[in-house]
């Protein structure tokens, strides 16, 4: 078996396992509120486990087969005895899912021939099998349902005669299942021959003719359903290929104005050429949009993984938590989505562990016993806003500022005067944790500082809002995509720079504005109500500022940039306008470059430098104080 095939299959298996997780969480909801899961969901779950079992058998991953098989048995029983759905069976299924995930992951990272690799897995499997055995026993002992002899005949299918006397041993079959049997069994599905699957399904059926009849069409239906979903399925594309497509499209976008506004033809009157050129422009814009959208996936994948997290965390903390998800259709660059997972896990865990009160506390506060966490995604211009809002106790200003004082971040007198917003900022300080004790869930040194760092590398922001007693909201804002940004193209001497539009606050013309020179290379300008630092790009790159020469200052432009509420003005000679910029990396030959986020090629054929405004601001403001 080719390793690539196995890996591809494992990816598929992961998808199926994700679906199982989603369905199990539904299952849980209905179990908890006392209503029973409908037959459809059980069938779907059964089918998923069955798919995993079948395909894994094909690849010889015996551990996965055994685990899925046991889960399948349990589900099959539930299908017939829906009244037996309880937390216990649910827990079994969820644990089985966890182990399956573990096995798949293990197989991906260190192929070991598909066997169990930990004691717990085997113990759990035995437990699950025992559970299956015991319910089967109970189920067979109900005389009107299953006459013993028939049951035996049924199991005789596997040709184990000893089963006649001792059903328990017979069921042992499933624990000790040997490979040839599996192969045979799964061979059924691989060959896709319709009568045999029926037989297999029949295996676990009550030997009641009516039910059997009912069941017979099922497998075919299942097959059909699966085929339907397959035709709708996405295809997987190598990201390298996608990237080179994006590169080429980016180049076309850049070349288009170079051709249509070519200096050789600019003076000619070419009416029909202009018309065609316009058409081409439109098409290229469409092409660019579509290519970009190829990288975009709905955020639902990450969001749905949070359901499980909320469930587990709630369980561990003994709190009742309701997760409300909205905006999961919002699309965002795949590479960004992947980076969002960890920050979200952290924030949501915090929200449940620290934010939400216990049942008693909530009652006292006159709140619903069940805490709510709202996870929302919305698209806002070129950004996606992801909000995690809890209705817990909110942040304690006192505790946070005390902690900040004890860490020496502020003095006692400052603590009084700070705005709430400034106090919350301390949460993002490395090593800052107000948790009283280290718990299983948090306080292990991974703090919100890491969350902010992760989000900042994505050119995003994290902000926190809180009203004491009413809850806390974390707002993450990230760009839709990293490959193309909206930028303001400006010129300084012979060099073209691009400032990412999200960092630009305003551009002003400074012919008559007074500029204060505080000392050499340090200027400031009045902007609205503030004095902001005014810098020359030369200075940022290690040369003397030419702002020292007041005469040259006339007729220059100041771009006011902002990062983390800090503003800085950068002086340029000319503003050329705003456009979409395809980001290209700067060659690794240039080491230790600070303040540049990349390169791009402009319509005039020049290479432009994309400024990393946030870095520039933090660098500059740490060296200069106004």
């Amino acid at each position: 078996m080719e390793r690539d095939d196995v890996l591809e299959y494992l990816l598929e298996a992961r998808e199926t396992l994700e679906n199982i997780e989603k369905d199990l969480l539904h299952f849980e909801k209905s179990t908890l509120d006392g209503s029973r899961v409908d037959r459809d969901l059980l069938d779907t779950l059964f089918r998923h486990f069955h798919t995993i079992k079948g395909s894994s058998g094909f690849f010889g991953l015996t551990a996965i087969v055994k685990m899925a098989h046991a889960a399948e048995n349990l589900l099959d029983y539930l299908r017939k005895n829906p009244e037996d759905q309880d937390e216990d069976t649910l827990e079994f299924l969820i644990t089985a899912l966890d182990y399956l995930n573990e096995l798949v992951e293990h197989e991906e990272s260190s192929p070991s021939g598909g066997d169990f690799f930990s004691e717990e897995q085997i113990l759990f499997l035995n437990k699950l099998n025992q559970k299956n055995d015991s319910i089967r026993l109970r189920y067979m002992q109900t005389p009107e349902e299953v006459p013993a002899s028939q049951a035996n005949a049924e199991f005789g299918l596997f040709g184990d005669d000893s089963a006649n006397e001792n059903p328990k041993e017979e069921f042992g079959l499933f624990t000790n299942i040997d490979e040839p049997t599996i192969a045979k069994e799964f061979g059924l599905f691989i060959n896709d021959s319709p009568p045999k699957p029926n037989e297999e399904f029949g295996l676990f059926l009550k030997p009641d003719l009516n039910t059997t009849k009912e069941r017979i069409p099922k497998p075919e239906e299942n097959l059909k359903n699966e085929k339907k979903t397959i035709t709708k399925k996405d295809i997987r594309i190598d990201t390298d290929k996608l990237d080179s497509l994006l590169d080429i499209v980016g180049e076309i976008v850049i070349t288009e104005p170079m051709v249509t506004d070519h200096p050789d033809i600019s003076k000619l009157k070419l009416e029909s050429f202009q018309k065609t050129a316009l058409q081409l422009k439109k098409l290229i814009r469409n092409l660019q949009e579509i290519t970009l959208s190829l990288r975009m996936v709905p955020i639902a994948g990450v969001f749905s993984r949070m359901e499980r997290l909320v469930r587990d965390t709630a369980k561990k903390t003994g709190k009742q938590v309701k997760l409300i998800i909205s905006g999961e259709d919002t699309e965002i660059d795949k590479s960004i989505i992947e980076e969002m997972y960890d920050p979200l896990v952290h924030i949501i865990r915090n929200a449940i562990d620290h934010g939400l009160e216990t049942l008693e506390e909530r009652k006292e506060a006159g709140k619903q016993p069940q805490g709510t966490i709202q996870l929302t995604a919305t698209q806002s211009g070129k950004e996606v806003w992801i909000e995690v809002r809890d209705d817990g106790k909110g942040l304690s200003r006192e505790r946070i500022s005390n902690k900040a004082i004890s860490l020496g971040l502020i003095g006692h007198s400052d603590a009084e005067t700070l705005e709430d917003k400034e106090v919350w900022e301390f949460l993002f300080y490395p090593g800052f944790s107000t948790a009283k004790e280290v718990t299983d869930l948090s306080g292990r040194g991974v703090g919100l500082d890491v969350v902010r760092k992760n989000v900042t590398t994505l050119k995003g922001f994290v902000d926190v809002f809180s009203v004491f007693g009413q809850g806390t909201t974390f707002l993450i804002r990230v760009p839709l995509t990293l490959a193309i940004i909206e930028g303001l193209v400006v010129r300084k001497a012979d060099t073209y720079f691009i400032l990412p539009s999200i960092d630009v606050k305003e551009s002003i013309y400074i012919s008559n504005e007074p500029i204060n020179e505080l000392y050499k290379n340090n200027h400031s300008i009045q902007y609205r109500t503030n004095q902001i630092s005014l810098v020359d790009i030369n200075l940022l790159f290690g040369k003397d500022s030419d702002l020292n020469d007041q005469r040259t200052l006339k007729e220059k432009y100041v771009i006011v940039t902002e990062s983390h509420e800090k503003q800085m003005g950068i002086v340029f000679d000319e503003i050329l306008g705003s456009q979409s910029i395809v980001i290209k990396p700067i060659s690794p030959i240039f080491k230790n470059i600070n303040g540049l986020a990349g390169c791009t090629i402009l319509g005039n054929g020049h290479a432009g430098l994309i400024l990393d405004v946030r870095k520039l601001i933090s660098q500059h403001l740490s060296s200069v104080t106004i």
């Binding site: 940022l540 790159f541 040369k543 060659s587 230790n592 290479a607 430098l609």
Partner: protein, 167 residues
């Protein structure tokens, strides 16, 4: 481009590239390097300066949608900067998979220098530029200075890059 050269290699005589050197001049001296590194020779396009790096790294140029760094070989050899003119050339080379443009005064030609005409360079003092020279090649009455391109980008240079004030 480099792939083209490779396939050339295979398709025709295996030795096509062997012993072939690209010769260029700086001041009055003739230099040469193995032609297999060369991808293309270009007229100098507009250079975008990358601030805050070593002076010999002049910046980046746009070559058909690719951003390629360029190095002024004169500055690399500690010669005095000479303004670029119409005949200034960029030799596009690929070193360890990284494309790089070399700015030189004049490109001469491609010459065959057989192995027996190459003499490993003696230790020529402590001069900085001598580190790039590994041998000399006799061509008729003249001597070409053979340079080791890899050395142009050695690690130790990375640390010479100017510190940025305010860091």
């Amino acid at each position: 481009m480099s792939q083209n050269l490779k396939s050339w290699d295979v398709d025709t005589d295996e030795d096509t590239m062997k012993d072939l050197y690209l010769c260029f001049s700086l001041e009055e001296r003739d230099y040469a390097f193995e032609v297999r590194h060369l991808t293309e020779i270009l007229a100098l396009p507009a250079i975008t300066t990358i601030p805050g790096t070593a002076p010999f790294l002049k910046g980046v140029i746009n070559i058909r949608g690719k951003i390629i760094p360029v190095m002024d070989v004169r500055l690399r050899f500690d010669m005095i900067f000479k303004p670029y003119h119409e005949r200034t050339c960029v030799l596009l080379v690929e070193l360890d998979g990284l494309p790089l443009g070399l700015i030189v005064d004049t490109v001469n030609d491609v010459l065959k220098i057989p192995q027996e005409n190459i003499d490993l360079a003696p230790k020529i003092g402590e001069s900085k530029s001598s580190r790039f020279i590994y041998a000399t090649g006799r061509v008729g009455d003249t001597v070409k200075i053979l340079i080791n391109l890899q050395r142009l980008l050695t690690e130790e240079e990375a640390h010479l890059i100017k510190d940025i004030p305010g860091n």
